[in-house]
Symmetry: C2
Subunit: 160 residues, 2 copies
């Protein structure tokens, strides 16, 4: 997997990951621990809910987004920490059997003033299902490692 | 547990839940599935990270917030669906042994124009650790059931 530095990502770059197949068992298991609402854990109750069927917890959908974020192609970034998330919306519920894909576009980047070894990057993120409907969209801000002095070649960062 | 309707919650009301004890095992188990960064799953690598120790994935911290949201006192609400999250920040990392508590304050409420059986509520949410440091803060918007016609008494909604 190619993990690049802050310097290597340009505003406008698109990275993608997935698909991630969401099973009914995974939806129920996650929700039983973190979000045991009837419409996330009980198929009959879910049929009577506003969703008319079993749907994944929003926390679960967000966790799937995070799991795909470190697997993007053509490269992923050396993320040091997540800083925050804005305008997080869940327009389409995630249902058993859905296949989710991630699209991440660099919106903005700036070098850290206090720490010369890192920079802040803002990304527009979409998680879409197999019909290209948006399951989750948000703007994410992350701290990314800058390239250490002396490491000039992109190829030198290819690992694994 | 008392689950109230849209009409029963007033702007300014505070609800609380917790504490939720976060174990090292839970941090590692969640991260192995959804966020296998070295600083979430490997104590030695975590010691060398910007966090100087093992920390929970932000997705995990958010899932814990969701798990507490349905357990608030003095009441919880009949939530039909989560709509979105804004200004989500993670100022203090969550570490093994932390005890997290939730504070939810109603910021704003409005009745749905299209569906008379529901309303939209915006809440300011803080998840704090045992030192009262903020682990996660955000503004959450949810769809809440309105009281059915004929159900006038708060007491009639006490269940379980």
């Amino acid at each position: 997997m190619t993990r690049l530095y802050f310097e290597d990502a340009e505003v406008g770059h698109l990275r993608t990951a997935g698909p991630y197949l969401v099973s009914k068992d995974e939806i129920i298991q996650f929700a039983q621990k973190y979000d045991p609402q009837p419409f996330h854990i009980d198929e009959e109750a879910a049929a009577r809910s506003v969703f008319a069927g079993l749907t994944a917890s929003g926390a679960h959908t967000f966790a799937i987004l995070i799991s795909l974020l470190s697997k993007t192609q053509p490269y992923s970034l050396r993320v040091l920490a997540g800083l925050g998330w804005d305008e997080l919306r869940l327009p389409t519920p995630v249902r058993p059997g859905d296949e989710l894909s991630l699209e991440v576009t660099v919106l903005e980047k700036r070098e850290s003033k206090s720490s010369p070894d890192r920079g802040v990057m803002r990304n527009q993120i979409y998680l879409r299902n197999q019909k290209r409907e948006i399951a989750l969209q948000c703007v994410g801000s992350v701290l990314v490692a800058r390239r250490p002095a002396g490491l000039e070649e992109k190829n030198s960062e290819i690992e694994k």
